[in-house]
């Protein structure tokens, strides 16, 4: 099965062949590297930009204003912060011009902790992104969703912030993407660029390399604003996304066995616009809810969900809802003890579930 990096790469290939993608660019995005996470290897419209995040967002906006279809990358979410004013301009250009200009722009950036990335390679960005109106924001957790959401992002005439989780970029999927070869070794042979011990070796090895794209790729889409119920349950709803979908599953599996708790896990997938209907239906059913993510806790996106749940389902709740988020600290420390103390771990999730489920109405 494809990894998320391969899934994104195949979606971008489909985009440039069939959906009018004109420019895929960013730092180290073009040859020889094809992205520090390999998401843009072998793509015909991929090229390297100067090491300049402001220039990347600005140029992408210009291309979009001129009717092109750019997909730009900020190499790490940690490095997008110096573009916030530009993200505001991207988000307001359609509105400020009373609908005259369309902004079909995709900005992809990798977020979150989980690879011992320390202070500057572990940031989350979704809460801040959600404060910049005019963008659709997605954060897939699986390769097939990453493929389908990238296709949806490319087809959308609006700016889309395509966040993807660092910790899951190399995790293989469990569902075959339409058109993906069944044999993952075959996929590797077809679309992964040859590698080498140094940049010089890589450049040499890739001089004559061309990817062999799977023939049957499709415009398989995951529509924006549709959450996925990862598992159904009756005792508690867990609203989460990205890496914490899997951590929630691990915690829920354990508590199913030890405590008999039946948890319903919702992978939001799209953070703006988010799927209120699926979340509220689940909360109405279970009466208990844990909102879970790894961003810092103050003005956390989960707090917004919390407020909406309280506003909408207050009288149907049987226990106080909880938000379990990252620690209120300026960064994620390098030592595993520091990282684990900063990011909700499986044991923390178990504790939160138990606390909510042990409350008596």
């Amino acid at each position: 099965m494809a990894t998320m990096a391969q899934a994104i790469r195949m979606a971008l290939h489909y985009g440039e062949e069939n959906l009018g993608v004109t420019d895929i660019f960013g730092e180290d995005v073009g040859p020889p590297l094809g992205g520090v996470f390999t998401c843009t290897q072998g793509l015909k419209t991929a090229y390297n930009s100067p090491l300049d995040e402001r220039g990347i967002i600005g140029c992408a906006l210009g291309l979009a204003l001129a009717g092109q279809r750019p997909v730009c990358e900020i190499q790490f979410g940690d490095y997008i912060f110096n573009t916030i004013d530009l993200l505001k301009i991207v988000g307001n250009s359609h509105w400020a011009s009373i609908g005259q200009f369309e902004i079909p722009l995709v900005c992809m950036t990798i977020v979150g902790a989980g690879i011992h990335g320390s202070i500057y390679h572990s940031h989350s960005f979704e809460s801040i992104a959600s404060h910049i109106p005019g963008w659709k924001i997605v954060l897939p957790s699986t390769p097939i969703d990453a493929y389908g959401m990238m296709i949806s992002a490319i087809k959308d005439p609006n700016p889309v912030m395509f966040l993807y989780p660092k910790a899951l970029i190399r995790v293989k999927g469990t569902e075959l993407i339409p058109g993906e070869p069944e044999d993952e070794k075959e996929l590797h042979r077809m679309i992964d660029a040859p590698t080498g011990p140094t940049l010089y070796h890589i450049m040499e090895a890739r001089k004559s390399w061309k990817p062999e794209w799977p023939k049957g790729l499709t415009d398989y889409q995951v529509p924006f604003g549709k959450a996925k119920i990862v598992q159904e349950g009756s005792d508690i709803t867990i609203v989460t996304y990205a890496r914490h979908v899997f951590m929630a599953k691990e915690a829920a599996d354990k508590l199913k066995q030890t405590e008999g708790i039946s948890a319903e896990i919702i992978d939001l997938r799209t953070l703006y616009p988010w799927d209120r209907e699926t979340v509220m239906n689940s909360v109405r059913k279970t009466g208990r809810v844990l909102i879970l993510n790894e961003d810092t806790p103050v003005t956390n996106f989960g707090e917004h969900i919390y407020r909406e749940i309280v506003d909408t389902c207050f009288y149907e709740l049987v226990a106080k809802p909880r938000v379990l988020a990252g620690a209120d600290v300026p960064g994620v420390g390098l030592h595993p003890n520091l990282e684990f103390a900063s990011i909700p771990q499986v044991q923390d999730i178990e504790k939160a579930i138990l606390a909510i489920c042990s409350e008596k109405p």
Binding site: R54, I57, G62, L63, Q68, W95
Partner: protein
Amino acid sequence: MDKALKLKILDLMITSRCMEERLIKMSKSADGFFWLGGPGEEAFNIPLGLLARPGQGLDYDYFHFHYRNGATMLAMGMDPKDEIRQMNNRATDPFSGGRNFCNHYARYEWNVVPVTSTIQTQWLVAPGTARAQKRHGGDGITIVTCGDAGTAEGDFHIGLNWATQPGHESPVLFIITNNQYGISTPYEQVHGTRTLASMGAGYGMEYGEVDGTDVEASYAKLQEVMAYVRKERKPFLLEAHVTRLYGHSSSSGANRVPEGSEQDPIETWLKKLIKQKLITREAYEEKFKAEVQRMNQLLAEVKQEPEPTGDSIYQHIFKEV
């Protein structure tokens, strides 16, 4: 430059000045809020608008203006009533529907991309439209303007760097209108560079300066550099020295600077045309008076037009899929 063109430029200068002075009055009454604009830049901005090629799509020029290009828009064919609509924040404001300040244009059918109040960010966006034009072919160019103060932003350099990236050299005409001040801060106090234009040298691009208070010099220089950018598909950095006759904006009072403190390019041009016997001062004053009347009339008409409704704020957040 033939007689007809000379007089046309004078007419546009009058229209532009009368429009801006009407906007300033509106900003000091109940008819408008904040004003900022470009009185003092007409001798440069009008030739710019006359020589540019507005239209929709990659075959035409793209415009990334800062907030002092009203005269350029008039020279491109804008109805001054539209700018009065924006100042009066009417629903009929064709640029922003009452959402944005005056001189904040956005006009899809002319490739005028939305003007932002943020300083210098337009220099980041311009290389994007120019890349699209380069790929498309033809001779459409991207024109981007800024003031002297904004060149202190890193974005100034980013724009020049992207427009000269090897393999991506793009047809951008970068224009600095240097009025010697950033709000209250004199240029000399915060810039060590001898000229701003010469910053182009470090990027290996062509650059030059022009007296932006001189109509003929501006027209000739713009003709020359536009021809270069259109043909060579490479950027050019042009610094035009201009004046600022009503200060920075409402924030500095929007009052006329003392007589003789800064050159008025309209007066300079008028004297030249009087000397060439193309017009008399009396005829000019008649024209000016009539234009003041016309602007008053336009405002009276605009005030009858609908205001934006509160619930319209939710329109155009996203393009419907």
